[in-house]
Symmetry: C2
């Protein structure tokens, strides 16, 4: 007899992208930012280290919440920090969804949503996207209406496209909570200040953000939620009291306080993304217009898995993705390619050209 | 209509000890170690900062697991790191307990267990301790036999006493998992290497540890589980993929690798603890023989709450605790006093003597 919950026995667990621990890779598979974080991060961490690591962190994360509240033009009680937006997503599941209640999310999209729903013992359904990554709202409406939690990444992954606010409003469940997962939100063409939260249905909306991508801080596992205090105060009850540590709080605060640095890296990545898109098209790949730091590329003739394997043999990692279900086809496959530095991009393209010959 | 789960609406959330953010306090309320962590911690964190914070942490925490496995004389796959033992306790709830199943724990004890069970939607019952903090095994056996998860801190909090392995074996549920919460395990008179896990019922046992207390690292939120790989592998499925960050991993690894530093602080704390116990007895407090870094003190004549308040007015914080249920009395109250430095202890005793006059 297993000691585990049946749900836990049944699931595989989420499989993150490969993280080789040796050197020499061009690593374009997990959407990390190729540029270092603000130098103010290391200074803030060193200061925190010279302080008192023997005492518990500030459970209110006051300085981080102050800096972030200013960015979104809200009060501090609208902000909840966590260990990456992954922890925020776990908190959302635990706060709002009882076993058997329904969680929905677009598909193809971020596959962690399914794993988290399984862990929570929740029911879950995929909201199938159209072949051009748009929504057929009438088709998904019945599912949305039955949902306790709807999770939508915007920009979406793996496609990188963004949906307009008018579409987002159509996806808010009438009897549940809507999560706008903006892990890649800083790479959008038109950044925003969370104005959507102040709309009529904003009281049932939570925006999640991470510092892993735009702030170049995947290593510190830091994310946060922005939502009305009625939602934040309940979410806070299910988190560990001291969920964020003194070092990551110091790093995150310094990064958020240095907007210029993040915006400089954002500009560089967007310029490289546009060049990479053009080059992929020249190699006969189909791409989606991306507002993120990665590009979804498909090829009508050559096996995506083969391309992935040949690149890997040359120490270039991209993400080969396989979605068993889609409206387009019985199975959707493709390559999700992170936008690296210009040098990494040139190195990748050179090897890709050789492979495609 | 609330959007939250009924369980979440019903609970208050765990209330941690006060964490004043201003200076000048003698802070003896949350069992922090008064001494700084190993200087190797700051060096390791600085090195990690100069490395690549823009990439994800090592999801396997290889170096930390190697160092810790050696301490417990097991293979690396017996070790699971987390954000404090609090996260490990959350993982244990989510891995083993379905809503409605029973979680039990001694009482008076660590009150977080009840909060975590509530969040999980689990049933929970208190295993009432005898007035002298011992177990009446025959009395609690029916509860143990119905338990899916039994959580026992050893040393216990707030009492600080330790139970022998023979008692621990009696508390292992026949159809569930037993958690030996050793947050204060390094302060025991007889430290061990987890030999109990290799006993007949060891396959249903998990030891949890934290670096917050003995390693002086409450600020980095780091703990770990030690258990048979069959248990660890299932627990791993319910955690976030990258639950520990690059900075806390570097700090934790450096701390665990510097055993001499930890053991030096342990010796100092034990010496101060013995002196503090003696002084409290001279002031007519009743104390429990502590194998932790705190002392449980009660006074038969003066209100514990009054003593706490008078100390707080003088900027001395101890933990006033109130347990509504006990075999001793309708309500048990007392003061849990952390063992500080010698200077802090002298300062506390001086003010306490004035208050008691």
């Amino acid at each position: 007899m297993s000691l585990f919950r049946p749900d836990v026995d049944r699931i595989q667990g989420y499989v993150p992208g490969e993280q080789p621990q040796d050197d020499g890779w061009i690593k374009l598979n997990t959407n990390e930012n190729p540029y270092p974080p603000s130098p103010k991060v290391a200074a803030a961490v060193a200061e925190a280290c010279s302080g008192r690591l023997n005492v518990y962190p500030d459970p209110l994360a006051s300085r981080f919440r102050k800096a972030t509240a200013e960015l979104f033009n809200v009060d501090q009680d609208w902000i909840l920090p966590g260990n990456g937006s992954d922890e925020i997503l776990t908190i959302l599941n635990r706060a709002f969804v009882d076993p058997g209640e329904l969680i929905t999310f677009p598909y193809p999209s971020y596959t962690l949503y399914e794993t988290l729903a399984d862990i929570q013992g929740a029911a879950h359904e995929r909201l199938l996207l159209e072949p051009d990554w748009s929504w057929d709202i009438d088709r998904v409406r019945p599912q949305i209406e039955r949902s306790k939690l709807v999770l939508v990444p915007n920009p979406n992954s793996p496609s990188g496209n963004c949906w307009a606010d008018e579409t987002i409003h159509e996806l808010v469940p009438p009897n549940g909570v809507f999560v706008l997962d903006e892990a890649y939100g800083d790479f959008r063409a038109e950044p925003h200040q969370g104005e959507i939260l102040h709309s009529d249905d904003g009281r049932r909306m939570v925006i999640t953000r991470t510092l892993s991508k735009s702030y170049s801080l995947a290593g510190i596992r830091f994310g946060f939620a922005v939502a009305h205090p009625d939602l934040i105060s309940g979410m806070r009850k299910v988190k560990d009291s001291y969920n964020c540590n003194t070092l990551s709080l110091a790093a995150a605060t310094a990064a958020v306080e240095d907007q210029d640095w993040m915006l400089g890296n954002r500009r560089r990545i967007i310029a490289t993304r546009d060049r990479l898109t053009k080059s992929l098209c020249e190699l006969n790949f189909d791409t989606v217009d991306s507002e993120a730091n990665f590009i979804w590329a498909t090829h009508s003739e050559i096996s995506h898995q083969k391309i992935y394997e040949k690149l890997k043999a040359r120490k270039v990692l991209v993400r080969f993705m396989k979605f068993p279900e889609s409206l387009n086809d019985s199975e959707l496959t493709g390559l999700r390619i992170t936008v690296g530095t210009d040098d990494e991009t040139d190195g990748f393209l050179e090897i890709l050209r050789e492979i495609m010959e």
